[in-house]
Symmetry: C2
Subunit: 152 residues, 2 copies
DNA sequence: CAGAGGTACTTGCACAGACAGGTAATCCGC
DNA sequence: GCGGATTACCTGTCTGTGCAAGTACCTCTG
């Protein structure tokens, strides 16, 4: 075929828009969280995911999926946070291969402090993105989404 | 305030959904392009951005914005692609600080070969995402987007 | 035309991530 | 209960990225 599929082009444009918006938000959050609390976006994501957990403990692999990270990256990420005293590891009794992670009080405090920064940055960045013609429709669509949380 | 702002929670959920979908697509594209053509997603993005340019040449900074990369990363990325003979640098005459990059015939060929892989992976990944309840609405919204290309 | 200030790209360095390979624990068929 | 397959996590190594500093060039002012 000589001409490119139209639907493919539409999907590609959508993907570029998605990537652009993601990059914008990600960069803004990264800078804000780093500046205010020495946290990266993934680190915040992990703390946040842990805090949304019922018993506030998760296994490494759950964490890896929640953060969209490889297991090796998860190991080091948890190590970093553990070294800072924000969470603690402990073996789970029933399956001794598994390792639970749990927020420490310090971790919860830091999360409580960081959440407003996160939320404010998210809000202002979305507002800024809504000013960009190419991004505006996606920002609008995002606001319309209902339902539960992805990536848990 | 004790209770968290509702709108903030909605935005945070939207952001998590966006990030999850982005991660899914990004990982899938990365693996497919890497396996088939030894290209990373950013590398493909750059080649693609170049090919969509009128005269098929861009300055480093345009490239940096198109790929959502820092200028240092762009330098190294262009160097990699240049070493592989996929694009070439040349100084622009009117502003000798600036450097134009241009696809070589090899670069165009590789892009032509990689595009079907990219598009097919994107399609199948979006289809897979549409099966996930949390992601489906966003996938649907993405298909509805009109208009030009972001990140150019 | 000299010099200050800004812009475009490159480079040194440090850090986070992926992949492959390793160890410890669990599960399953016999 | 033994041995093989699988699972969960950790570690060595390499690659890619951002930041800060450096170089070359342009522009503007006097």
């Amino acid at each position: 075929m000589g001409i490119r599929d139209d639907a493919a082009e539409v999907r590609a444009r959508g993907w570029r828009t998605l990537a652009a918006l993601h990059g914008l938000i990600d960069t803004a959050l990264e800078k804000a969280l780093q500046a205010e609390h020495r946290l990266s976006v993934v680190e915040y994501t992990v703390l946040e995911a842990l805090s949304r957990q019922d018993g506030w403990h998760m296994r490494m692999q759950q964490l890896a999926r929640a953060a969209a990270l490889s297991s090796s990256a998860t190991t080091r990420l948890v190590t970093r946070l553990e070294d800072r005293g924000l969470l603690s590891r402990y073996l789970c009794a029933d399956d001794r291969r598994g390792i639970y992670t749990e927020l420490t009080p310090e971790g919860r405090d830091l999360l409580t402090a960081a959440r407003p920064v996160h939320d404010a940055t998210l809000e202002s960045t979305l507002a800024r993105a809504a000013e960009v013609p190419e991004l505006a429709p996606l920002v609008g669509a995002l606001a319309e989404l209902k339902g539960g949380t992805a990536g848990a």
